[in-house]
């Protein structure tokens, strides 16, 4: 049977089957036999060494007062000064705080809403309608944030469509993108709008794979649709939910640069400035390259730890492996 299962589910199975193999073949024989395989890896290897590993080495400028005209070799070494400054500046502390708040709420709603929407969509029996709804809700994921921000700036402006609509109910124009109190909700809701559909896909795949006999059995036992959902559907979805939830741990410092950069403005820096936008402004716009790199390194260092923890947890609780 040509059973399609989502990547994650399948990897769960893979990991149970796969055993560690040890290779005893000497390098000479191996090279002679498999040289084309090594050759085929060369392009990718060159790309990662140049464009991924070289910049990783470049993070040493976080310990420098880097000046472009002096270069990495000529710039002054200042130890941990840049890192100390992260915790001295009000702006950077605020940016870290904003990042965590925005990212955590995005993660939470980004897990819960797709689950609920997938369950609701699963109750639509009319195939054409179901397909049509899916087509529409997946679409925003593929639009760039430039497009979405362009539309949002248009319809959320003081004289834009939304305020015009609200005026019908006598509501005063709301400055969605210029009011620090409203900026975070606007960002979170628009991100949800853009991505909930795409987030549903994995759950819909799980739901489609549930053996109908489970429901038939539940029905014979007198379970109604709600009870079936609680006792059959949700337990089946649980491993996937656990994988997605644990893996999203790695995104706690990712508040969404593309989105924020295109939506924010100086009026909302207090609530909307995040680590990535702060790095951009402090380094490329204000020339503090070493400091900007230090902030970036602070972020990617913590993220690395979180990602490793999340993979370990996903492996421990659901047997998930990345490859």
């Amino acid at each position: 049977m040509n059973q399609v299962t989502p990547t994650e589910v399948n990897q769960l199975e893979n990991s149970k089957i796969r055993k560690k193999k040890t290779y005893r073949t000497p390098w000479r024989t191996e090279l002679k036999k498999n040289w084309p395989l090594y050759v085929l890896c060369i392009p990718a290897l060159v790309f990662v060494l140049v464009f991924s590993y070289a910049p990783m080495g470049g993070v040493i400028i976080a310990f420098q007062d880097y000046k472009p005209w002096l270069g990495i070799l000529g710039s002054e070494w200042i130890g941990l000064d840049n890192f100390r400054r992260i915790f001295e500046y009000q702006e950077s502390i605020q940016a870290i705080y904003n990042t965590v708040i925005i990212a955590v709420i995005k993660i939470l709603v980004g897990i819960i809403v797709p689950i609920i929407m997938a369950l609701l969509l699963n109750e639509v029996r009319h195939m054409g309608l179901k397909k049509g709804i899916q087509t529409l809700v997946y679409l925003p994921h593929f639009l760039s944030w430039v497009t979405v921000a362009g539309i949002m700036l248009n319809i959320l402006s003081l004289d834009g469509g939304i305020n015009h609509f609200l005026a019908n109910f006598g509501i005063e124009p709301i400055f969605f993108l210029g009011d620090p109190d409203l900026f975070r909700p606007t960002v979170i809701i628009s991100d949800l709008w853009k991505n909930f559909g795409f987030g549903m896909i994995v759950y819909l795949a799980v739901l489609a794979g549930i053996d109908p006999t489970y429901y038939e059995a539940a029905e014979i036992d007198g379970a109604n649709r709600w009870q079936q959902t609680i006792h059959v559907t949700i337990p089946t979805m649980l491993p996937m939910i656990i994988v997605i939830a644990t893996l999203s741990l790695g995104d706690i410092l990712n508040a969404g640069f593309d989105q924020i950069f295109n939506l924010y403005n100086p009026l909302v820096y207090s609530t909307g400035d995040i680590i990535d936008t702060y790095v951009y402004r402090s380094s490329l716009l204000n020339g503090q390259y070493g400091f900007g790199t230090a902030v970036g390194l602070f972020k990617s260092g913590i993220s690395l730890v979180l990602i490793i923890i999340s993979y370990r947890l996903a492996y421990k609780f659901a047997g998930y492996r990345i490859f």
């Binding site: 191996e30 609701l120 529409l136």
Partner: protein, 289 residues
């Protein structure tokens, strides 16, 4: 099935209404944009345009295409998308094929690639690297740095793993070389998977805006997404920051709408193909033999 209880029918009714409403929220903003792009200035400023053009005209589109910067940027986007997708696919399929096999050192190589998913040098080191390689202000700055993607590599590798080993063994017996097997068996058989990943990479290139702003010192070299970012997004938010009422004076909404719409059109055009495959793509990448 006993979905026929009264409670369930009430639920089902509201569920349908709710889902249709949600689905419409995903479409209406684009319709609004499209309607604006075909509407007259007066109608837009008077907020008369909702989802259908008022005072229909195509002036905005004429002005957009008369703008040589816009047209040039579009050309740059087309080039980067084609070139970038080609390079990416080459790099990923070759390594993906190799890594789908078992050979000594495979796991070590795999880890070298996986590490790039876990940690990156960040903005400034990448910027310094691209500058010192002399790639700034060239198309290569847009296609080379992101050409490799570990996630896509894993997907492609899993695709190749789904192809039955027996095929390869038979070809080997017939005297086919490694490369021939790759070219004649693996690539054709995994075409749906490769097409999916290729489309994803294309969409990524078309939508990518930050690298253009970062690596191009002159707006003349901007790809379309970067051009739109500066013209449409930056100008609006700067206006808002200066003075909320200044936004009122900006009456070129129709031109902005037309530009955004043209920039999004390629995505909307490939979307049906994308959708046909991506659900499978997320899924297929992992089907085991």
């Amino acid at each position: 099935m006993s979905h026929k209880s009264k409670g369930y029918r009430v639920f089902s009714f509201f569920n349908h209404i709710f889902l249709i409403a949600i689905a419409l929220t995903c479409l209406l903003p684009l319709l609004h944009l499209l309607a604006q792009s075909f509407s007259s200035k007066g109608a837009i400023n008077g907020n008369l345009v909702s989802f259908w053009p008022v005072g229909f005209n195509v002036d905005a589109y004429i002005k957009t295409f008369e703008n040589s910067n816009f047209v040039r940027s579009m050309g740059i986007s087309v080039v980067r998308t084609i070139l970038g997708t080609f390079i990416s696919m080459f790099v990923i399929t070759t390594a993906g094929y190799a890594l789908s096999k078992d050979f000594r050192g495979r796991n070590g190589l795999m880890w070298i690639f996986i590490v790039t998913m876990l940690f990156s040098g960040g903005l400034i080191p990448s910027y310094i690297l691209v500058s010192s390689l002399g790639l700034k202000d060239t198309i290569w700055a847009l296609v080379l740095p992101g050409a490799f993607g570990a996630y896509n590599l894993i997907l492609i590798m899993n695709f190749f793993r789904t192809i039955p080993k027996a095929l390869e063994e038979a070809a080997l017996i017939d005297g086919a070389s490694f490369f021939k097997i790759f070219w004649k068996i693996y690539l054709p058989l995994s075409l749906p998977g490769l097409a999916t990943i290729g489309l994803f990479i294309m969409v990524g290139h078309w939508n990518s805006w930050f690298d253009g702003i970062l690596y191009m010192s002159s707006t003349e070299n901007y790809p379309l997404a970067s051009f739109l970012q500066t013209v449409v997004v930056q100008s609006s938010s700067q206006n808002m920051a200066l003075d909320p009422t200044a936004a009122k004076a900006m009456s070129e909404k129709s031109i902005k709408a037309a530009q955004i719409f043209i920039g999004t059109l390629p995505i909307i055009i490939v979307y049906p193909f994308l959708q046909k495959y991506f659900v499978k793509g997320i899924v297929l990448g992992s089907v085991k033999e």
